[in-house]
C-alpha cells in the first residue's frame, strides 16, 4: 500500500513537471539580436493596446517628428525606475513616444499605466516578443530613438537616465 502511494505521488509529480515543460515550450523566448546603428525602421504590424486593432508601422510613425520607441513591461522592475523620466520626456512637443508592451499580461499592463501615468501617444502589444526581435532588442527596458527620416539612430539598452534624456533632447533640438 505504502509503495503504491509513493508511486502515485511520484507519478503526479512527474506529470506536473511534464505539463510545466510542455507549457514552457509554447512561450519560448529565443531571439538573436542584431547590433546595428542607424538602420531603417522595420516594417511591421502590431495590435494597439487600447483598441486592439492591428496597425501598420507606417501609420504609427506617420508624423514628421522624432519618435521614441520604448520597450517596457509591467513585470520589469527597471521600467518603473525610468518611467518618471519618460513622463517628463512626453511633455516635449518635438517628440512622440511609442510604447511597446513586451510579453506582458494586459491587465497588469493597464494597472501599471493607471498607477504610474501614460507617457505614450500610442502603445503597441508584443505579447510573444517577436516585435522586439525586429528591433534587435536585448530585453526590457530598451529605448530606440527614431529620426524624421524614419531611421533608428540611437539605441539605449536598459533603463534610461537623466544623461540619456539630455542626450535625446540635444539630438532633437
Amino acid at each position: 500500500m505504502k509503495i503504491k502511494l509513493k508511486l502515485f505521488i511520484l507519478f503526479i509529480f512527474l506529470s506536473f513537471c511534464f505539463i510545466i515543460f510542455y507549457k514552457g515550450l509554447s512561450n519560448s523566448n529565443i531571439y538573436a539580436p542584431k547590433v546595428n546603428d542607424k538602420r531603417n525602421l522595420p516594417n511591421f504590424e502590431a495590435k494597439n493596446f487600447s483598441s486592439n486593432i492591428n496597425i501598420n508601422s507606417k501609420k504609427i510613425f506617420e508624423e514628421d517628428s522624432f519618435y521614441i520607441l520604448n520597450i517596457w513591461a509591467s513585470w520589469c522592475i527597471p521600467c518603473r525606475k525610468e518611467h518618471p523620466l519618460l513622463m517628463k520626456l512626453s511633455k516635449n512637443k518635438k517628440i512622440k513616444l511609442i510604447g511597446l508592451n513586451y510579453k506582458d499580461n494586459l491587465n497588469n499592463a493597464r494597472k501599471f499605466i493607471n498607477k504610474f501615468g501614460d507617457p505614450y501617444s500610442q502603445i503597441l502589444i508584443d505579447d510573444d516578443g517577436t516585435l522586439a526581435i525586429e528591433f534587435g532588442a536585448y530585453g526590457v527596458p530598451e529605448t530606440f530613438l527614431i529620426n524624421k527620416n524614419k531611421m533608428i539612430i540611437k539605441k539605449f539598452v536598459g533603463p534610461i537616465n537623466q544623461k540619456i534624456v539630455d542626450e535625446i533632447k540635444l539630438i532633437i533640438k
Binding site: L10, L14, F18, I20, F21, K23, L25, S28, N29
Partner: protein, 623 residues
C-alpha cells in the same frame, strides 16, 4: 549532393537495423541455448558502421561546401578554413544530434565486445534498452532534425558558422563531452537490464565500474574544455557563469560522481543497491533533460541553435517515456538486498555522506536552472537565477564536504576507527594557521573564507602527505582528491585575489589606477580569409615596475557579420593577465577590461588531475 544522399540512406538503414537487431535479440533472449547469438554483434557493428558513414557523409558535405544540403547552408561558408568546415559538422543542432547517435551506437557495440563474460540475458537486455534510446534518436533525427534536408534551387553561398564557435577548443569540446554525456546511456541501459535480471551484484559492480569511469573522465574533461573556451572567448574573464548550459553538464557529473563512489561500496559488499540503480537512471535522465532544456529553446543559452517547438515536444515526450519506463522497471523488478548492516564509522557511511552532499548540490543546481521555467508558467513572472544564488547555497556546504573527503578515505570497510589521529590534528592546526596568516595579509579575513580555505588546505595537506609518505595502495583516489582540493583552493584564491580595471581609452592614451599603468600604443588591422581583425597594442606596467605587452583583438567576421572580442591572456604559473577590448560605438574610444586573475592555470591543472585519478583507476590491474 552524393554524400548527403549516402548519408541520409545510411541513417534510414541504421534505423532499420535497430528493428532487426531488437527482433533477433528478442528471439535469442527467449531461446533455450546458452550462447549469445553472434549475429547480434555483427549487426551492431553494421549499425555503427552506417551511422559512421552517415556522419562522414555530413562531414564531406561540409568540406565540399555543398549548399544543397540545408544544414551545410545554414552553418557553413566557402571562406571558412577547412578545420572549421569540419568542426562545423557538430557545431549545429542536426549535426550534433548525429554525433549523439554515433556515440550511442559506438558505446553499445563496445559494450557487447567487452562484456563477453557477462550473462547472456543481461547482455541482450542491455542491448534492447540501448536500442530503445537509439530508435528514439533515429526517429528524432529523421523526423524533426534531418541533417540531410535538400535545398533546391541550391544557394551559392552559405550563412556561415557562428564566429564564437570558430575556435579550436570548441571543435573538440562537443565530441569529448558527448563521450561522457551520452556515454552514460550505457550505464542506464546496463543498470535497467541488471535490475530485471536481479544481477546487481559485486561482479556487476566490477564490470560496470569501467563504464562509469570512462563516462566520468570524458565528462570531466569535456566540462573543462567548455569552461576554458568561455574563459577566453566570451571576454568576461570568468570561467563559470552558472549558465543553464553549464549547469546541465554539471548535474550529470554530480550524479555520476556519486554513482562512482557508490559502485566502490557495491564492489565490496552488496549494499546501496536501489540507490545505485536510481543514480544510474538519474544520470542519463539528467543528460536527456539537459538536451531538452538547451535544445528546445525553453531556456536561452549559447547552445540553443534553433527554436523549433516540434523538437522540444519530441524530446520532452521521449524523455518522459524513458523516465516512466525506467521507474516502472525499477519498481516492478527491484528487490533490495542488503547483506549486513552499516556501521556509522566506516567507509560506506562516509560514501553515503558524500552522496548526501552531492544530492544537495544537485538539487540546488536543478532548482536554480528549472525554477524560472516553473515560475514563468505558473505565475507569468520572469526571474533569472544568477551566480549569487549558487554561491550562497553551495559554498557553505563545501567545508564539511571537504572535511569528509579527508576522513572518508582513511576509514576501513565495515567498521573502523580513525588512525594517525595526531598527525591529522597537526595538519588541521597547520591548515588553520596558514589560512589565518594568508588572509590577514589580504584584508579579507571573513570567518567564512577562513573556514572554507582551512578545510581545503586540510584536504590538500592530508592528500599530499599520503602521496609522499604512505603506501600508495589507492593512488588514483588520492590523486583525484588532491586534484579536488587544489581546484577548490585555486577557485577560492582566484575569486578573492582577482582584480579588474574597466575603462575607456583611446590610442596613445595612458591610464593610471593604483600604480598600474595601461598604455594604449597603437592599433593594427589585419585581413584573414573569414574575418578582418583589429589588434590593439597595450603595454601594462604593474606596481613593481614590470611590464607586459598584451594584444587583444576584435574580429569582424564576414559571414555572418558579427564582431567578436578575443581576449589576450598572458598565463604564468601564478597568475593570468587578461585584457579584452570592445568598440565604443560612434567614437574613437575603446572599452577595455583588464583583469589580473591568480591561479587560473591551477584550476585547469587540478581538473586534469581529477581526470588523471579517474584514468589511473581505469587502468589499474585488479590484484
Amino acid at each position: 549532393m552524393l554524400a548527403s544522399q549516402i548519408g541520409f540512406f545510411s541513417l534510414v538503414l541504421g534505423l532499420g537495423l535497430s528493428f532487426l537487431l531488437s527482433f533477433i535479440a528478442i528471439i535469442n533472449f527467449n531461446d533455450n541455448k546458452k550462447s549469445f547469438d553472434n549475429n547480434i554483434l555483427s549487426l551492431s557493428f553494421f549499425q555503427l558502421f552506417f551511422v559512421i558513414i552517415s556522419f562522414l557523409g555530413l562531414v564531406v558535405s561540409f568540406i565540399n561546401s555543398d549548399f544543397s544540403n540545408e544544414t551545410v547552408f545554414n552553418n557553413s561558408h566557402t571562406t571558412k578554413p577547412l578545420f572549421y568546415k569540419i568542426s562545423g559538422t557538430w557545431g549545429n543542432h542536426e549535426g550534433s544530434l548525429l554525433l549523439w547517435l554515433l556515440v550511442l551506437t559506438l558505446f553499445i557495440f563496445l559494450f557487447l565486445i567487452k562484456s563477453k563474460e557477462q550473462p547472456k540475458k543481461y547482455r541482450i537486455l542491455t542491448l534492447l534498452f540501448q536500442q530503445v534510446i537509439i530508435i528514439g534518436f533515429f526517429l528524432f533525427l529523421l523526423k524533426t532534425s534531418n541533417p540531410f534536408n535538400y535545398l533546391f534551387p541550391f544557394p551559392r553561398e552559405g550563412l556561415g558558422l557562428n564566429p564564437i564557435l570558430q575556435d579550436p577548443i570548441l571543435a573538440i569540446h562537443p565530441p569529448i563531452l558527448y563521450l561522457g554525456y551520452v556515454g552514460s546511456s550505457i550505464i542506464f541501459s546496463a543498470a535497467l537490464s541488471a535490475v530485471t535480471q536481479n544481477y546487481i551484484t559485486k561482479d556487476w559492480a566490477q564490470h560496470i565500474k569501467k563504464w562509469i569511469l570512462i563516462s566520468w573522465i570524458f565528462l570531466t574533461l569535456g566540462i573543462m574544455l567548455g569552461s576554458i573556451w568561455a574563459y577566453y572567448e566570451l571576454g568576461w574573464g570568468g570561467f563559470w557563469f552558472w549558465d543553464p548550459v553549464e549547469n546541465v553538464s554539471l548535474m550529470p557529473w554530480l550524479t555520476l560522481t556519486a554513482l562512482l563512489h557508490c559502485i566502490l561500496v557495491l564492489e565490496k559488499k552488496v549494499a546501496l543497491t536501489s540507490w545505485i540503480v536510481i543514480l544510474a537512471i538519474t544520470t542519463f535522465t539528467l543528460s536527456m533533460c539537459g538536451t531538452f532544456l538547451v535544445r528546445s529553446g525553453i531556456l536561452n543559452s549559447v547552445h540553443t541553435f534553433a527554436n523549433d517547438p516540434e523538437r522540444g515536444i519530441f524530446i520532452l515526450i521521449f524523455l518522459f517515456i524513458l523516465i516512466f519506463l525506467s521507474l516502472g522497471i525499477f519498481f516492478l523488478f527491484h528487490k533490495e538486498k542488503n547483506q549486513n548492516q552499516i556501521f556509522w564509522l566506516s567507509k560506506e557511511t562516509s560514501i553515503l555522506v558524500n552522496n548526501w552532499f552531492m544530492m544537495y548540490f544537485l538539487s540546488v543546481i536543478l532548482i536554480g536552472t528549472t525554477y524560472p521555467i516553473f515560475l514563468d508558467v505558473i505565475s507569468a513572472e520572469k526571474i533569472s537565477v544568477g551566480p549569487p544564488f549558487y554561491h550562497k547555497l553551495i559554498s557553505p556546504f563545501l567545508a564539511p564536504f571537504l572535511l569528509g573527503m579527508v576522513f572518508g578515505p582513511k576509514l576501513r570497510w565495515l567498521k573502523s576507527k580513525i588512525e594517525n589521529k595526531i598527525s591529522l590534528i597537526i595538519l588541521f592546526v597547520i591548515s588553520i594557521f596558514l589560512t589565518i596568516i594568508i588572509l590577514k595579509n589580504l584584508t579579507t579575513d571573513l570567518l567564512f573564507y577562513t573556514i572554507l580555505i582551512s578545510a581545503a588546505f586540510f584536504l590538500f595537506f592530508s592528500t599530499t602527505k599520503e602521496l609522499f609518505f604512505q603506501k600508495l595502495n589507492n593512488i588514483s583516489q588520492t590523486i583525484a582528491h588532491f586534484g579536488f582540493s587544489l581546484l577548490i583552493l585555486s577557485i577560492l584564491f582566484n575569486s578573492i585575489l582577482s582584480s579588474e580595471i574597466i575603462t575607456n581609452i583611446k590610442v596613445g592614451e595612458k591610464y593610471n589606477y593604483n600604480k598600474i599603468e595601461i598604455f594604449f600604443e597603437k592599433i593594427e588591422e589585419k585581413k584573414e580569409s573569414n574575418f578582418n581583425s583589429i589588434i590593439g597594442y597595450f603595454k601594462i606596467t604593474s606596481e613593481d615596475g614590470k611590464f607586459v605587452q598584451l594584444r587583444p583583438e576584435l574580429r569582424i567576421y564576414n559571414q555572418p557579420k558579427i564582431i567578436t572580442s578575443e581576449a589576450d591572456i598572458k598565463t604564468t604559473l601564478l597568475e593570468d593577465k587578461f585584457l579584452a577590448m570592445n568598440i565604443v560605438k560612434g567614437n574613437e574610444y575603446f572599452n577595455i577590461r583588464y583583469q589580473v586573475k591568480p591561479f587560473m592555470l591551477w584550476i585547469w591543472i587540478s581538473v586534469i588531475l581529477l581526470s588523471i585519478g579517474g584514468i589511473m583507476s581505469l587502468l589499474k590491474k585488479r590484484i
